[in-house]
Amino acid sequence: MSAADTTEKPRDAAHGTIEVSIWRGRDEGRYETFRVPMRESQTVLDIVTHVQRHLDPTLAYRFACRVGVCGSCAMTVNGRPRWTCRTHVSKVVENGRIEIGPLANLPVIKDLAADMSPFFEKWQEAKGAFTPSKTREADIEPISPETRERKIIDAAIECINCGVCFAACDTVRWNEDYMGPAALNRAWTLVNDVRDAGNAARVHAVAQGGGCHACHTHQSCEQHCPVGLNPTASIAGLKRRTMQAFIRGELE
């Protein structure tokens, strides 16, 4: 290490501060402002963690993996739903300020922790659980990655259940029956799973009032998905599949 390097600040040294407004309370509450030191490569989740560890230990928020795999830490950052662990402060800070709230379209448990129950209840409504067609004694079924069905699944399977699409969707906000992009995207992967035995019930479920036909193709889910999925395309697939089933009279 050269002499010049030793005089540099350590890599995580603070350079200035950010004014951070954080939602406090439940569905009723207010924003509370904190000043947080700005660091290099700092994420929005780092800011929230700093506030909780150093400024106010009563702040509630949710996180787990911190590397964009678990989907636990999504929040509303400057009016936009984002995965906070993979959102750099430098990318979203506006005039030295940042506003962090809980995910929209969900009840608030406390502060930044949204209640994900409605999100996962919709998942169940859309029959988002795999229905096995074989017993545990059967051999593992080989699925070629080259099949049409498997390619469709590959395009949609990497959902991390973060709820960003659910929070970004106006149709979810306007229509409480609507299952939302993530649940329908999940249903679409199972509809294309040749091993699944539950598709008669699944296609029936997503053809109901709150199912895929409630989608108005705003494409907000596609625009906001942090892992680059396209639930709008998956929902379009379900619209085609249910339309075929309807025309064949399979839905009565």
Partner: protein, 117 residues
């Protein structure tokens, strides 16, 4: 203070395109009964309808007709885009197509205005 909501999705071109589609559809639905009532004036004879048509030669009606032509065109083109998304393989460039639909509809309306003034 009530819970905060998202706001920035309203800046998304595709969200705006969806609103253009909904509002244009709503306005066209509101206009249709008036359109039908006006045409039905023909039940009272050609002169009755012609009297109405001459009354609508006022500039205000020319503007309204231009807007209606634009609404019809934008709802048509936006609707074709939605039908294509729902029924054909996904294609990229949706923002460009949505903005293109609005631009073409505006041109159609402008051409209509030029024609009638």
């Amino acid at each position: 203070m009530a819970k905060p909501r998202n706001t920035t999705y309203r800046r998304e071109p595709l969200w705006r395109a969806a609103m253009v589609h909904r509002i244009s559809g709503l306005l066209l639905a509101c206009f249709l009964p008036l359109h039908f009532l006006a045409l039905a004036l023909a039940l009272d004879g050609e002169q009755r309808l012609d009297g109405f048509l001459r009354w609508t030669d006022q500039p205000l009606f020319k503007v309204a007709e231009t807007v209606l032509v634009g609404l019809l065109a934008v709802h048509l083109l936006g609707g074709i885009r939605v039908l294509a998304i729902e029924n054909l393989p996904w294609r990229p460039g949706q923002k460009q197509m949505a903005m293109g639909a609005i631009a073409v509809a505006t041109l159609v309306a402008a051409a209509f205005l030029v024609r009638i003034v």
